[in-house]
């Protein structure tokens, strides 16, 4: 099979799996997960083949795999649908395929496959456990098959987005994921908080999507195409850069870039649309990993990296991007410090790390952004799955003690889990160190270092300083999390009875931990002391950089960013351990600052600024004024008027003309004829005979007259 055809097929298996599970295998849990994992595996296989073939192509950047077909006729032209795998696409496809496969596998264990059905479980709520021989054990998720159907669709959306060659199909995949995030965050729909979180995620990302759609429409109206390869030609980019948009003095390129970027702000949870992502923790943990690492938020960053040539046409847009990214990075990192829920820490960490990528893009560090996107996907997927494993272990403990008041997600209820859950601990440690940027061995170090080096090398000192501080906070809260969760001694009875999770959950952890370490080694800068000459070649920079027509220069090596990242990483980790190693309860935590704990009151702010006014407008303006006053008022005018017209038509047209003349008239005519013709129906055969003869004579006479005389 040609590589192009293979690329077309990559998104297909999860879609088929979705349809199969929904339509046929819904009743059978084992069959459902077999179908879903097989589909993920097929997609993974296709992605790996494509990736390996891509590695074998010389000058892959100039000769990417691309194919397209006509889709919708638009007058004389066609909207095309097509696939494109260039170096960036191949790199993204690689991590997407891996993480998706791992998350699928992990979901089997997470949803307690093989355990008995719960005593009081019902669809829409997390499983409550089942009683077996007097012990309470974990019970299987009631909507197990449904979960696999949804994440299959999710995977389809992501693969579609990655392989697409135009903004149109990218947007299709984008929206499918939007839907799936809503479905999966609200997966336990009987929980009001999960429902609310689903709606919040959907509404918030939708704000971004609307702007993105505007950007796409604007782009299409200016260039007449949405295909990446056609947009990113010198000619079109320069046209876009030279056409003024008439808004804020931006060029068309700048405005389009900004609009598309707002889409990403929504999808990747950047300030100020970050509020949905922590709430998205209401969904099952594999979903969190799916959204936060493998698919959705990565898709947002992927989209802006994709559109980088367009964004980079306008300085102002780039400044906005850099500002938003850097601000989000430090803003979310500070919030994460004060969170106690193990998943919420990671959620804010994700926002913060995405901010790093966006900031990197804003300062023009294209390769660094892509590199951090990929390393982050691996270690954040690892951390989420690890946290899910921890929660699972804690739930085991909760069932053991029977005290259901203990929140298995609160880190202050944990402690000392490293002996109970060794695989989870070590992999979580690797993930955490990668997140913190632990020097030399972890992937996170190399990608974050590259961002800092780029910021320094291109003289963006403010961004550099901001990111450095954010990185320090990152290391600090990561170590806080590891210390509280795994180190020290158990703080609760439940933590003492935590238990290592099954192989379906730990295997993905190990695989992802492998990548969280090794993936960084493909991007070691050439001029890095000792290691640089050893590997001799910054492969990742070389590979992905060639996606662009002008390969970005790797920054000059400088000791300052390197030392900075060493200091912030080690310093943050050290401080985190030092502060939290003896913390016994939440009261001893000095960072329970209400300002941070409440996320700078952004939810409350939005409540006051947007939601309450929206309710007020809905209640008073839309309902009371528009609906009841204007629309009902208009209707109340229409009612009598149409009633009058109707009566008039009825009285002066319908009744006399239609009913009496046409309706009754025709009936009366028929009745009159019937009444008067009735006597000839005598029932006497001889009279009929005479009548028919009369007719024969009349007709015959007429014919004779016409034929002979006339």
């Amino acid at each position: 099979m040609t590589t192009e055809n293979l690329i077309w097929l990559i998104p297909l298996p999860p879609l088929i799996s979705f349809a199969l599970i929904v339509l046929f295998t819904n009743k059978n849990k084992a069959l459902s997960h077999t179908v879903a994992i097989s589909a993920a595996f097929l997609s993974w296989l296709g992605a790996m083949i494509v990736f390996v073939r891509a590695l074998g192509v010389e000058h892959f950047g100039e000769h990417p795999f691309a194919s397209s077909i006509n889709w919708l006729p638009t007058g004389d032209t066609w909207l095309k649908v097509g696939v494109l795998i260039d170096p960036l696409g191949a790199a993204v496809l690689f991590f997407v395929a891996w993480t998706i496969l791992m998350i699928f596998l992990y979901s089997v264990g997470y949803h307690n496959f093989g355990q008995p059905a719960g005593d009081h479980d019902h669809a829409g709520l997390p499983p409550h456990g089942a009683t077996v021989h007097g012990h309470t054990v974990l019970s299987v998720e009631p909507m197990y098959s449904r979960f696999f159907a949804f994440i299959s669709l999710f995977a389809f959306g992501m693969f579609t987005l990655v392989v697409s060659d135009s903004l149109l199909t990218l947007f299709v995949g984008w929206e499918i994921m939007g839907l799936c995030s809503y479905l999966l965050i609200g997966f336990w729909y009987a929980k009001p908080s999960a429902r609310a979180a689903g709606i919040k995620a959907f509404m918030t990302t939708r704000i971004g999507d609307v702007f993105m759609l505007l950007g796409i429409a604007f782009l299409y109206s200016v260039t007449g195409t949405l295909s990446f390869r056609e947009i990113f030609t010198e000619e079109i980019l320069h046209t876009l850069a030279s056409v003024p948009s008439g808004v804020f003095g931006l060029s068309a390129a700048g405005l389009i870039g900004l609009l598309l970027f707002i889409g990403t702000v929504g999808k990747s949870a950047q300030f100020p649309l970050h509020v949905w992502l922590p709430d998205a923790m209401e969904g099952p943990t594999p979903v969190s990993a799916m959204i936060h690492a493998a698919t959705m938020v990565s898709a947002g960053v992927y989209a802006v990296i994709r559109m980088f040539p367009l964004l980079s046409m306008d300085e102002k847009t780039m400044t906005v991007v850099a500002f938003i990214g850097a601000f989000t990075a430090i803003f979310a990192a500070t919030i994460a410090v004060a969170q106690n829920d193990i998943k919420r820490v990671l959620a804010y960490s994700t926002i913060s790390q995405l901010g790093f990528m966006i900031a990197a893009l804003g300062i023009g560090a294209y390769v660094a952004a892509a590199f951090h996107l990929i390393t982050h996907a691996f270690f954040k997927a690892l951390l989420f799955l690890g946290s899910g494993s921890v929660i699972h272990g804690m739930e085991h403990g909760v069932f053991h003690t029977g005290n259901h008041k203990v929140d298995p997600q609160d880190m202050f209820n944990m402690g000392g889990l490293k002996d109970k859950m060794p695989i989870t601990f070590w992999t979580f440690l690797i993930g955490g160190f990668a997140l913190s940027g632990f020097p030399l061995v972890t992937a996170g170090f190399w990608s974050k270092d590259e961002i800092l080096a780029d910021a320094w090398g291109h003289h963006h000192y403010i961004v550099f300083a901001t990111l450095a501080i954010a990185a320090f906070f990152t290391a600090f809260y990561t170590m806080r999390q590891i210390t509280l969760t795994f180190l020290g001694s158990p703080r609760t009875e439940e933590a003492k009875h935590a238990h290592e999770t099954p192989w379906t959950m730990t295997t993905p952890l190990v695989v992802l931990a492998f990548f969280a370490v090794t993936y960084g080694w493909v991007g070691i800068p050439e001029h890095f002391p000792v290691l640089g000459p050893l590997v001799n070649n910054n492969w990742f920079h070389d590979f992905v950089g060639h996606t662009l027509e002008h390969v970005p220069e790797a920054p000059e090596f400088s000791w300052i960013p390197l030392l900075t990242s060493l200091v912030v990483a080690l310093g943050g980790l050290g401080l985190g351990w030092f502060v939290y190693k003896d913390v016994k309860s939440v009261e001893q935590d000095k960072f329970q600052i209400s300002f941070l704990k409440n996320k700078y009151y952004f939810d409350e702010l939005y409540e006051v600024v947007f939601i309450n006014p929206a309710y007020w407008v809905a209640e008073n303006v839309i309902y009371k004024f528009m609906d009841q006053g204007v629309i009902d008022g208009v209707l109340h005018i229409f009612g009598p008027v149409t009633d009058k017209i109707g009566s008039a038509i009825r009285n002066y047209f319908d009744v006399p003309v239609v009913n009496q003349f046409i309706g009754d008239g025709s009936a009366e005519v028929a009745w009159w004829f019937g009444k008067n013709l009735r006597p000839i129906q005598t029932g006497r055969i001889q009279q009929y005979f005479i009548l028919s003869l009369v007719v024969i004579f009349v007709v015959g006479g007429l014919l004779y007259y016409i034929l002979t005389l006339a």
């Binding site: 009735r678 129906q681 005598t682 029932g683 006497r684 055969i685 001889q686 005979f689 005479i690 003869l693």
Partner: protein, 102 residues
């Protein structure tokens, strides 16, 4: 030699007499008698046309024989009907049978 018109006129007269009988008699058997007269008139025509046309072509006589068969069938069924009606309604007067009246 008798002209063809004599035969045809004779047949037309016989047919008209039969027609009058079929139209005007009250008794159903008498109506059938009238029909028999009409059939005979037709037969006279057929045979006359045979005689005055190509004698080697026997079509006239053949059709006359077939009309015999039809007449026999008609009489058989017609009289059976008369008898059947007579059994049910105890009448053979055509005018009294007006079940198909409006």
């Amino acid at each position: 030699m008798i002209p063809l018109s004599w035969y045809l006129t004779f047949a037309a007269a016989l047919f008209s007499i039969g027609l009058f009988g079929a139209l005007s008699r009250r008794n159903m058997v008498a109506i059938l008698l009238g029909v028999e007269l009409m059939l005979n008139a037709v037969n006279v025509n057929l045979v006359a046309f045979w005689r005055y046309g190509d004698v080697a072509q026997m079509a006239g006589q053949v059709f006359a024989i077939i009309v015999f068969a039809v007449a026999a069938a008609e009489v058989a069924v017609g009289l059976a009907l008369v008898i059947s009606v007579y059994r049910r309604h105890n009448t053979v007067i055509a005018e009294e049978l007006d079940l198909m009246k409006w």
